[in-house]
Symmetry: D2
Subunit: 139 residues, 4 copies
Amino acid sequence: MEGFSFSTDVRIRFAETDAQGIAHHASFVVWLEVARVAYLARHTDGYQAIRDGGLEALTTEVLLRYHRAAYFDETLTVWARCVDVRGARFTYEYRITRAGELVADGHSRHAVVDRETYRPTRLPAWLADAIATAESAEA
Amino acid sequence: MEGFSFSTDVRIRFAETDAQGIAHHASFVVWLEVARVAYLARHTDGYQAIRDGGLEALTTEVLLRYHRAAYFDETLTVWARCVDVRGARFTYEYRITRAGELVADGHSRHAVVDRETYRPTRLPAWLADAIATAESAEA
Amino acid sequence: MEGFSFSTDVRIRFAETDAQGIAHHASFVVWLEVARVAYLARHTDGYQAIRDGGLEALTTEVLLRYHRAAYFDETLTVWARCVDVRGARFTYEYRITRAGELVADGHSRHAVVDRETYRPTRLPAWLADAIATAESAEA
Amino acid sequence: MEGFSFSTDVRIRFAETDAQGIAHHASFVVWLEVARVAYLARHTDGYQAIRDGGLEALTTEVLLRYHRAAYFDETLTVWARCVDVRGARFTYEYRITRAGELVADGHSRHAVVDRETYRPTRLPAWLADAIATAESAEA
């Protein structure tokens, strides 16, 4: 996908469908999180390492636009890129595709906080650097 | 809440929390849906009646902004109003509060479709009228 | 329900249904938890008070037998009783009914642990007493 | 795992954890379903093919025993075997392991029904045969 160098696949679970016969719209929010975790695993020591370092990344905003219905057992590709890293804050942008066709897109915003005090905390340099490297590699 | 005449309460379930010790951000998406269903139950014969009439309301967009963390067993009030009803489409706007304090806000957009063909279908007049009455009552 | 003095109602959410058009079987597991939390709120200072006291109740077993399908927007009554309290362990038994008709039944087993060490910890006397009082009241 | 010839892996999602800091016990019920779907995909044309054939497999019972807590981002292996196929009914047995250590075990029971009438329907011969072949291969 143009502008995205990272993606991860999710297979739609039966538990993620609803009585409309399609994937429930809240399931997509979980898939964005799965993609963020996979992104961090690819480019850093992973989200658990960030947590073990005394930090937590809170979600401060989620936007999803649903363009097509998705169905049980389909494989969706979640494209993700991390942008606007500044201070304690960063943003992910997403495209969710099925066989190249756009199913949904959106973004999420996050704030890094101290796990104990919940105070906003600047992204550690190693994390900001890893993201910068990941995203520049994509050009 | 100024500008909102409808609200419903949700009690945060343990299953809706995550390892950050707070309500998971995807849980809020479900609570918006709970509020929409309660709104329709209050002002119409309910969502199931719409489904029984051969229609389904798809979610085409969700936006949530999280202002404060929410915790297990807290009672949140989800304020909802239905706006921009036109043709097959309508929008809900939300404020989620805890003891008067803003926890999150956002909106969702929806399209009415035929349950069989999934083709966009104009809101039935009785539904558009019920929404208009509900929202004008609030003025 | 004979043998049960406590119940709480749940309204089936759209998000809890699946593409079979019925409530997903994992949703019932969450409703059992909702019932336990409501039971403790009725008979004690609530589960959060137990957590604030440095304890956590882990789930060590869940059994559910599904007798009838349940559908979106139906109200189910979850009957719960606490039995076999001994040491760090206790069991809940459940009947889930809809308009008096049995939809599901089952049980769950739990172990109280210290929140820090995760070591099994005898139920505090006030909790064992509150449960004993609750269950004897039912006779 | 002795007695099991099939397994599939799941990676614990952050959304699947709870405020106890561990995977929520209802998440395991979903993983059993993921394993059943993967089992059918391996040994047949998949669950969707069964649905397309006008059948649905309902869950009539779930038992889970939790032996150890599981944590965010861990990879669990879900071992599954299908036993007691007779008429419209069949049973799955499970072991869930982490690095060879038993985390949970249990079973689920199912009934095949007609998708329209919800009447119990004998397993199609091709499905019963595929299961018999799969399970005999394991010996």
